[in-house]
């Protein structure tokens, strides 16, 4: 028997609620053992997609395959999936031990092995001694660890996580992020993670699926979607970007001249323009950390555009500062590391944009 390389495959998945289409023709292949994040704002269809994979919702059209087996007609309790919810969803009337052992009761596992499996799962989430307690006696972070233990103890084909960190406070969230990733890597379990938090997505994922309005905007590794957004939506949603309407000139070898109205022409490497076809109009993406503010006398690299800018707002953040600068009739954001002192509000600076730091994406339609 050959091992299927794709753990989860969605083909042509559509979900409609009455007249509303929550998910539009979605195709996605998820490799065995990978950590895939469905990322997007609320209402983008990410949770709907997860619930369809879980079997909590039936797709209106299309097919879902898990390890090569079509599960579209298989009820949830026969899909062998681990599900973790935002609100933990531990059984309040059962002890932690009984919560974790719950799924094992419905599998052909000898009674003598259940205790050992439960203990190993509790060890894995680093809560080995809480078996006799009830969920209400644990903190939120501990409850979420137990929810994770309960989901992985059944050795599911796929682990589905529905915003599992959103209910935790900020510090705990970062700890759990590391913890979750450690457990996932240790078990090598295929994981689909739903979140609206870009930093969670960037930190944890092998692959990020950026979704908006029921369709997939972009699929790629964290660095790929961050550095090379293929749409204005992705550029806006991940990180902090300045989006400038631009005119695309004729390609000159490996360079594409891009003219931003009122700014001048920036020469971009052709590799930064692949998302745009032969279009005349496009949107230039300048990450706020790539908009460098320098003193008037600073040298300007050859491929860069230097523009006079006025600092209107300084948001001091310690090791860095976020500036709002006025260039011509536009306000742009810049996040720069602070070397000596931050630029002062009202200062006249030079805003430097390098072509190789920019990305060209199709023009936004409104």
């Amino acid at each position: 028997m050959t091992t299927p390389t794709h753990s989860v495959e969605l083909s042509g998945i559509v979900k409609r609620f009455g007249d509303f289409t929550a998910v539009e023709r979605m195709d996605l292949s998820i490799e065995e053992g990978s950590f895939v994040t469905l990322l997007g704002p609320s209402g983008c269809g990410k949770t709907t997609t997860l619930r369809m994979i879980a079997g909590l919702l039936d797709p209106s059209e299309g097919d879902i395959r898990i390890r090569g087996r079509s599960v579209t007609a298989i009820p949830i309790h026969k899909r062998n999936l681990g599900l973790v919810f935002q609100n933990y969803a531990l059984f309040p009337h059962k002890t932690i031990y009984d919560n974790v052992a719950f799924g094992l009761k419905y599998r052909d596992i000898p009674k003598s092995e259940i205790a050992g499996k439960v203990q190993r799962a509790l060890d894995l989430v680093q809560l080995p001694d809480v078996g006799s307690r009830h969920p209400r006696q644990l903190s939120g972070g501990q409850q979420q660890r137990i929810a994770l233990a309960r989901a992985i103890v059944i050795e599911p084909d796929v682990l589905l996580l529905d915003e599992p960190l959103s209910a935790l406070d900020a510090n705990l969230r970062e700890d759990m992020r590391v913890e979750l990733k450690r457990i996932q890597a240790q078990l090598g379990i295929t994981t689909i993670f739903v979140t609206h938090d870009q930093s969670e997505a960037l930190a944890m994922s092998d692959t990020i699926v950026v979704m908006s309005n029921g369709h997939v905007e972009q699929v790629g590794g964290p660095e790929d979607v961050y550095v090379n957004p293929t749409s204005a939506f992705v550029a806006r949603f991940l990180g902090n970007s300045n989006l400038l309407p631009a005119r695309v000139g004729a390609r000159e070898g490996d360079v594409v001249p891009v003219t931003v109205d009122g700014f001048g022409t920036i020469r971009l490497p052709a590799s930064r323009c692949t998302a745009v076809g032969q279009s005349d109009r496009a949107t230039l993406v300048v990450r706020s950390e790539n908009l460098r503010l320098a003193g008037d006398d600073a040298p300007v690299p050859g491929d860069a555009l230097a523009l006079p800018a006025d600092v209107t707002t300084v948001d001091y953040q310690g090791q860095a500062a976020r500036y709002f600068v006025r260039i011509g009739d536009k306000t742009l954001q810049a996040v720069n590391a602070i070397e000596m002192h931050p630029h002062r509000q009202g200062a006249r600076v030079k805003a430097i944009i390098r072509g190789r730091d920019c990305t060209l994406v199709p023009e936004e339609r409104h």
Partner: protein, 288 residues
């Protein structure tokens, strides 16, 4: 704020409730308790004092004991029937995703808009010898002679179930409604079928409502007197009928008081025992 006022503050806040309970419940009950030790003389006048003769009479006469037991039996049967028949509609309404959920709840409460006595009397038109059921069965040729369906214990229980079912439905509904739907999804995802999820998750988490509804049904049916008067026969008297008989008919306040206090003690003991066994408080913590 001084420590003293801080310590007394809960009592200030509780005072309206405490005053109401004291004046409307504790003091009248104390009066009844005092009455129960008075003596009714041959002339029909009550003689104040501390006499145990009423208590001796009630506790030694098997007549009172038998009626007490049959009262508790009727209340228990009524409670079980209410639990079995009330759970289903409560479950249906709670799990329904219909927009008309509140309308369904309103329909459950609709019977409360009609006087309890009218609702009880209407069973005479249904179960009587010329009532709807007998007429239908005779017209269908199933029976020749009308069945005597009224004035027996089943008729009393039927009337009580009819009266108490909404209490059970509403109590169970509230606890079902409070169950996080993710728990059921979690249970299903772990491999439990719908039936297994019900048994492992929904049913145990709805027990507080079932327990509260059960207690309410039991206490209300054990204290009822209208239903046996209207739907019961001469031998179906319940304990509250004895109290009514003693106080209203015979004007024997001391005897009626003894019977009242006795019923209060028995029901109180059952409530305490029930609480120990079912642990209403323990279940309440589940949701805390």
């Amino acid at each position: 704020m001084t420590e003293r006022t801080a310590r007394l503050r809960p009592w200030y806040l509780l005072s309206p409730a405490l005053a109401t309970i004291t004046f409307l419940l504790v003091i009248p009950t104390c009066f009844i308790l005092v009455y129960s030790f008075w003596l009714r003389t041959a002339t029909g006048a009550d003689q104040a004092g501390f006499y145990l003769s009423n208590w001796k009479e009630v506790l030694s006469d098997p007549f009172y004991r038998d009626i007490l037991f049959s009262t508790l039996r009727i209340a228990a049967i009524t409670t079980v029937i209410c639990a079995l028949t009330g759970y289903l509609p409560a479950y249906f309404i709670a799990m329904s995703e219909s927009r008309h959920k509140s309308l369904m709840l309103l329909l459950v409460m609709l019977p409360f808009w009609i006087s309890y006595i009218i609702r009880t009397m209407s069973w005479i038109n249904i179960l009587g010898t010329t009532g709807a059921l007998n007429t239908l069965l005779i017209d269908l040729g199933i029976i020749d002679q009308p069945l005597s369906l009224l004035y027996n214990e089943p008729a009393v229980i039927l009337g009580l179930v009819n009266f108490l079912l909404p209490f059970m439905v509403l109590n169970v509904y509230v606890s079902l409604e409070a169950i996080d739907r993710n728990l059921l999804d979690a249970s299903r995802s772990l491999g439990a079928s719908e039936l297994q999820s019900f048994r492992e998750v929904t049913l145990p988490l709805s027990l507080p409502g079932l327990a509260a509804g059960g207690l309410l049904c039991f206490v209300l049916s054990a204290g009822t007197y209208i239903t046996p008067v209207i739907l019961g026969g001469p031998r179906n008297a319940m304990f509250a009928n004895l109290v009514f008989e003693a106080i209203i008919t015979q004007l024997n306040w001391p005897l009626g008081s003894v019977l009242s206090i006795l019923l209060l003690i028995v029901l109180g003991a059952i409530v305490i025992l029930y609480n120990r066994l079912v642990g209403i408080g323990q279940f309440a913590k589940t949701f805390g």
